[in-house]
């Protein structure tokens, strides 16, 4: 069986321009955004189905727990960053009600398109706005949102520090940031089992979406993502306070919370 064709070379760039990681590869900073965009364009249509398969359905429970931690109330303004197919936005919309506002934001137009269609189909577009934005330079006024949630999105951002600073800027004083992301398992046995399980994702991706590369990137990007304490430190460096994290399923995922100071 021939090896899957690679869309990009694996070699390290020869010039001296700044690089960042794209999965296990080192790529020029300017290229990562395009590559991540290609990945999500490729998986957008089957994203939710694949999430159910890869997480064995547990992502729904984790998302519900994240929404509980958001402590949203009626009338709040929420930014669902890297919101993609909009499942968080739909839940947020129910909670904040007609007096509140949800902004579904994503850099990827294909994912956003799926999310927007879903919101319209469910007749819930009254308090949800859709915006194509780059998390590193959010086009919103300072002190706009009561809550910003970025779920399974931060690891795909090229400059995470810039994104965290940008999020901090648009949060209202006292507003909270929630980062739901894959993390480092705290139990070695669970870590090994999870690694073995996640190695199957490219195969599942190939069978269901016809694209193994995108899911290979997914597995690699999870392993390259900062661990719980590093991300907490990054949030503190972005001037967020009272930062803490909740490990979910022995650290396979972690929900980080931080607040903008008053």
């Amino acid at each position: 069986m021939p090896a899957p064709k690679e869309r990009y070379p694996m070699s390290k760039p020869e010039n001296s321009e700044a690089t960042t990681h794209f999965g296990y590869q080192e790529v020029p900073v300017a290229e990562k955004e395009q590559r991540v965009g290609d990945v999500f364009r490729s998986v957008a249509a089957r994203y939710d189905v694949m999430n159910d398969i890869m997480s064995l359905g547990s992502h729904r429970l984790i998302k519900r727990y994240t929404i509980e931690l958001s402590a949203l109330r009626a009338g709040h303004k929420v930014l669902d960053l890297a919101g993609g197919t909009g499942d968080f936005s739909l839940k947020f919309s129910e909670i904040v009600g007609p007096s509140g506002q949800v902004v579904l934001a994503d850099i990827n137009e294909a994912m956003l398109s799926v999310g927007r269609d879903r919101i319209i189909d469910k007749g819930m577009s009254a308090n949800i706005d859709v915006a194509q934005v780059n998390a590193q330079c959010l086009p919103f006024a300072d002190n706009t949102f009561d809550c910003v949630c970025i779920a399974y999105g931060l690891r795909n951002v090229t400059d995470k520090d810039a994104a965290l600073k940008s999020i901090q800027r648009v949060l209202k004083p006292g507003g909270r940031l929630l980062v739901l992301e894959f993390s480092k398992p705290t139990n070695a046995l669970i870590g090994k089992s999870y690694d073995a399980f996640s190695n199957l994702w490219p195969i599942a991706g190939k069978l269901i979406t016809g694209d193994a590369d995108s899911y290979r990137y997914l597995v690699e990007s999870i392993r390259m993502h900062p661990d719980q304490d590093t991300l907490k430190q990054m949030m503190e460096d972005a001037d967020l306070i009272n930062c803490k994290y909740h490990n979910v399923m022995s650290g396979i995922c972690a929900i980080h919370i931080g607040f903008k100071p008053h």
Partner: protein, 208 residues
Amino acid sequence: MNQLLASAALWPIEIALNQLIKSDPHLQGIAQKFNDQLLEIHTTAPNAFICVHFANSAIRLSAISSGDLGVTATASVSAKATSLLNLLLTTADSAALSNPEIEIRGDAQFVHSIFQSLKNLDLRWDDLLAPWIGDHSTHLAKSSSDSIRQWSRQSKTSVSVAVSDYLTEESRLLPPRGRLDQFNGAMDDLKLRIDRAKARIERLNSRL
């Protein structure tokens, strides 16, 4: 992890309750009345915690305390699970909330209003069931339920009548309380006399 599991356990309950609220305009009105209020319920024996958030004519259940979330609860109720259950089942008015076993913190008026609303609920389970299992099946279920309820009511009445008759019959064979008291007094007196006689015998023995 415990919070995650508790969240998982509360999820179907939340869905069922919200379906119930959605299907009943009266319940929607009640939920709307408490909009944006947060009630914490902590039970001991068994130890459990639920945070109820009323939002937009719906409720959200959570296992995370308001303290952990960094928000302020409107009120919190702490009690034994049995006390709370009794409170819901009792026909008493809101004075039942004055039970010293039930601790209320925060806005007591809010708790009082919730209690009154729960008391005044008139839920017809057959109306709720009909859309799911159909009118005919609901009618059968309702008939069966009514028959069981009627049978249990009749059984309870006949058992209490039988016990009452038995006690009445048996009580005729028993001596009246006055005679019984007199008999007990005589027995005590006899015991004292025997004790004295024993003491005198011991004293005579010691002299010999």
